[in-house]
């Protein structure tokens, strides 16, 4: 916590508007912000517990209604079809339910595939009907859950009252990133909720909960990795069935490289292989023989394995992974890695080394307490001050321009014969969470986003939003720009003198003063 006279001095230099943009999703044109010291206090409080998460109420006409099905909310694509009703708009809170939905999707897809192959052979006239069924399966089990995720989180970013907490949540979603090509839609939402519900615990808890979650297990294919000397591998070899009898090191490698210690810890191939063996047995949600955490000891490699000098014995196979997670989380290189990533994300690509050190020290001293670490980040953002600038990645900018104008259409009206959904828009401007191209997530380097193509697309998107805003002109770009940067003449004049309302919005949203914070 920033203390004493220094604190007073600092607050003269910073505004709550800047804080809300730096640590949250910005401020709405009609939003009254508390003074900086109160704002910081509130931000520090936000990260001490898990805020209530019920975004649909924020856009309901009758938010007090207890029964979710009776909430009066705008129509959502796909809902009210044969397969989906309003209750499906909520994330699957229960993991078992998410896994069942996942299995249901796979089974149904298999059934339809077989059916289609048959009809193709017979040249059946109702083939097109069956292809349509396959498409609707794709919408139900893939496209819908991805869209639901973007929209649910989006509503909360734009209208919710815990933006600082959400920023940290999104940071961790990107740290433990998944992508849609390797993970089925219905596991996404529950995975994100799982990360969320661990943000008041320690990093080692978050790590373990992310690693064993079926979404991650499927994404990095650990659910297919089987210990070569496990019971299951032996049975497969004896019976000659086609079951897996050996390992896949995908998850183990990323766990060391990206999620925890990084290659600078100097681990060897032997360390990676040992981690692979410790990971065998997890992700057994298919078939049904497993513990409550989807661990199947029959698939786990027996033996004692050592990773980075710490050894894990096989008295209880299921306890090896939490122990490994704990040790990796407590490794000094993990604190360094996380501190650096947080500082880059929240402060600047060139965050002061001193800030990184402070976050790292807090990580180590608190035993990886996420509350303490997140508060340290808030304090360091304040301490570094507005001279440290960060160019906003596309998704953050997207939520910020929407929060500024308080405009959130869950569905884009299909005028202009254009794209309809918010996922498509995020994809167009370059950053759709469910499309993160590789397990290292989206880049946090300014220069990956400052390119002609990406910026051109932001201009196009801002123009699109301006068209909607111009319908009622409730959002006033001229008033907003003064609140944003009252002293920066260049921008204020440009917005004031722009040739139309739409252009004024576009200049404001695409100015460097808005793009950077």
């Amino acid at each position: 916590m920033v203390k004493g006279g220094f604190k007073r001095l600092l607050y003269m230099a910073i505004s709550s508007e800047w804080l809300s943009r730096k640590l949250g999703y910005g401020f709405s044109f009609d939003e009254k912000l508390s003074p900086p010291d109160k704002w910081i206090e509130n931000a520090r409080n936000q990260v001490t517990s898990i805020p209530n998460f019920d975004p649909w109420r924020l856009i309901a006409k009758n938010p007090e209604e207890k029964n979710f099905e009776k909430l009066d909310i705008p129509t959502f694509p796909f809902v009210n079809s044969d397969q989906l009703s309003k209750k499906d708009l909520r994330y699957p809170i229960n993991l078992g339910q998410a896994v069942n939905l996942y299995k249901q999707g796979v089974n149904e897809e298999e059934r339809l595939r077989k059916l289609n192959t048959k009809s193709m052979n017979k040249n059946s006239p109702d083939l097109s009907k069956k292809v349509a069924a396959l498409n609707s399966n794709y919408i139900r089990y893939h496209r819908f859950p991805w869209l639901r995720d973007t929209v649910t989180r989006g509503i909360d970013n734009i209208l919710g009252s815990s933006p600082v907490f959400n920023r940290f949540w999104h940071f961790w979603i990107n740290h433990f990133s998944l992508n849609k090509d390797d993970c089925r839609g219905e596991l996404f939402g529950n995975y994100y909720l799982t990360l969320r519900s661990n943000l008041n615990k320690k990093f080692e808890d978050l790590l373990f909960e992310a690693i064993w979650h079926p979404a991650m297990q499927q994404f990095l294919q650990n659910s297919q990795s089987v210990g070569p000397n496990s019971k299951s591998a032996k049975w497969s070899r004896e019976s000659g069935d086609d079951g897996p009898t050996s390992i896949n090191e995908n998850l183990a490698r990323e766990m060391l490289e990206l999620y925890t210690v990084t290659p600078s810890a100097g681990y060897t191939q032997a360390d990676v292989t040992a981690a692979v063996y410790i990971l065998t047995g997890w992700g057994s949600f298919w078939p049904n023989e497993h513990s409550s955490r989807y661990f199947n000891s029959n698939r786990s490699e027996p033996g004692i394995f050592s990773v980075l000098g710490k050894s894990y014995d096989d008295t209880d196979l299921e306890r090896r992974l939490p122990a490994l997670c704990r040790d990796l989380a407590r490794h000094p290189m993990t604190a360094k890695n996380i501190a650096r990533k947080l500082a880059q994300h929240f402060i600047s690509d060139n965050a002061p080394e001193e800030s990184i050190k402070e976050i790292e020290k807090t990580f180590i001293k608190s035993g990886g307490s996420l509350i303490a670490v997140h508060q340290a980040v808030i304090d360091q953002v304040v301490k570094a001050g507005p001279s440290y600038r960060k160019f906003m990645a596309p998704a953050l900018w997207f939520w910020q321009i929407h929060r500024a104008s308080r405009y959130f259409p869950p569905v884009f009206i299909p005028s202009f014969n254009e794209l309809l959904y918010i996922d498509d828009m995020l994809f167009e401007i370059g950053q759709l969470h469910s499309r993160s191209p590789q397990p290292n997530g989206w880049s946090d380097s300014d220069h990956d986003w400052i390119t002609p193509e990406y910026l051109e697309r932001r201009i196009r998107y801002a123009n699109r939003l301006a068209v909607y805003l111009s319908r009622d002109e409730q959002f006033d770009p001229k008033a907003y720009v003064e609140r944003l940067h009252g002293t920066e003449e260049n921008l204020v004049n440009l917005v004031r003198r722009s040739d139309s309302y739409k252009t004024a919005c576009n200049i404001l949203f695409c100015s460097y003063q808005f793009l950077e914070v």
């Binding site: 050996s246 390992i247 254009e418 498509d424 880049s443 002609p452 699109r464 252009t503 576009n506 200049i507």
Partner: protein, 375 residues
């Protein structure tokens, strides 16, 4: 003074398509019209699937579900994946060469570090910011255009770089741009962007094929850009890799199609063209437990086009027995990939090899000139 949208587009043509470079006239005549299409194979190309060493008796025992049969004949030792029929035909016409058991000296098996090394051309990951192709083009004073989002690291280090990727968002009137640019003019990192911003006058679909088609169209112009880059993602087949068909074969099929399309659109200019592949690493020699392969070390490089000197597979084959594999699992590197890329930039851009060694590959000296490309 601020440029109008119309004038502004002409300036773009200048920076992208090589107009207005006085140095250009100094380039020797036979390299002036040369064109390079670089295809980045991200995820790790499995050299043993793409170009199986069928003469190595160990291949059969280390590969089962991923073993490729009916491979196409290249020479007495190497074969080509059967899906790459177009590349095979080019090989028969002396228009394709392959370098095998090659990679960068990086052995850490991380995609992110490996891709950084393949693009920066440095000994170690994250050692430098710029890319080897960007440096080479900067030395040769050439502009470049990337068909990917974002601009790949490999092109950084050259100020005359822009990128292009088709968007489905509708365009904005040029007057809006002009007003936004007045704001950007005051900011260093954005000022540069103004002059590179591209206008999507060409309607195209967002598929690798459409991108290459567009790239080729530009590259085939007399004063067109000299280099195109295409990203192909999806070689990271840890599970169910497939063999003659399947995931890895699909990617090789895409590569083969891209080359075919490039050739047909380049017309006569094919004789002055070179297509070269780059990947971050190969995959484990031995198959893993999920019918796939994990991250390994050495792989292969394809060179295709009229600039290829002769059909051949260049390799100092290290062998596939456990003792000859790196750490008992990966194909060893015997030819440094920088040897190949040094030759590529020297010969396509007409640069002195000593200068390439000094300014592009940071002091790295190739073992020798492998004679892959016409002088």
């Amino acid at each position: 003074m601020f440029l109008s949208r119309r004038n502004f587009l002409k300036t773009i043509a200048g920076s992208v398509f090589l107009y207005g470079y006085p140095e250009l006239s100094k380039a020797s005549n036979n390299t002036e019209n040369r064109r390079l299409l670089l295809i980045l194979l991200r995820g790790g190309l499995d050299g043993l699937t793409a170009v199986p060493p069928t003469g190595d008796k160990n291949l059969n025992s280390i590969r089962s579900s991923t073993f490729v049969d009916n491979a196409l004949h290249l020479d007495s030792f190497f074969s080509l994946h059967p899906i790459m029929t177009y590349l095979h035909a080019a090989y028969k016409e002396d228009n394709a060469a392959i370098v095998h058991a090659t990679s960068f000296p990086y052995t850490g098996r991380s995609h992110f570090e490996g891709q950084n090394v393949m693009e920066t051309g440095a000994d170690k990951p994250h050692a430098i910011e710029s890319g080897w192709l960007g440096r080479a083009m900067s030395v040769a004073n050439l502009g470049s255009l990337a068909f990917s989002l974002p601009i790949p690291i490999i092109l950084r280090g050259n100020n005359n770089t822009t990128n292009h990727y088709p968007s489905e968002l509708i365009g904005v009137p040029s007057t809006v741009y002009d007003q936004i640019f007045r704001n950007w003019e005051t900011r260093d990192n954005l000022k540069e962007i103004i002059y590179k911003l591209d206008k999507r006058s060409l309607a195209m679909r967002r598929s690798p094929g459409a991108l290459v088609s567009f790239a080729t169209n530009q590259l085939s112009l007399d004063n067109g850009p000299k280099v195109g880059i295409v990203d192909l993602v999806g070689f990271d087949t840890h599970a169910e890799q497939g063999n003659k068909s399947g995931k890895h074969a699909d990617m090789l099929g895409q590569l083969d199609n891209l080359i075919q399309m490039f050739r047909s659109q380049m017309g006569d200019k094919w004789n002055d063209s070179l297509v070269v592949t780059v990947t971050e690493f190969g995959r484990t020699a031995k198959e893993n437990g999920t019918k796939g392969t994990d991250h390994g070390w050495a792989s292969c490089i394809f060179l295709v086009g009229g600039l290829v000197s002769k059909a051949k597979v260049v390799s100092d084959w290290p062998g596939l027995s456990t003792s000859s594999l790196y750490e008992g699992r990966d194909l060893k590197l015997t030819i440094d990939a920088r040897d190949v890329y040094s030759e590529v930039v020297s010969k396509v851009f007409g640069l002195d090899p000593a200068q390439v060694s000094r300014d592009v590959f940071l002091g790295y000296k190739p073992m020798k000139d492998w004679g892959l490309i016409k002088s």
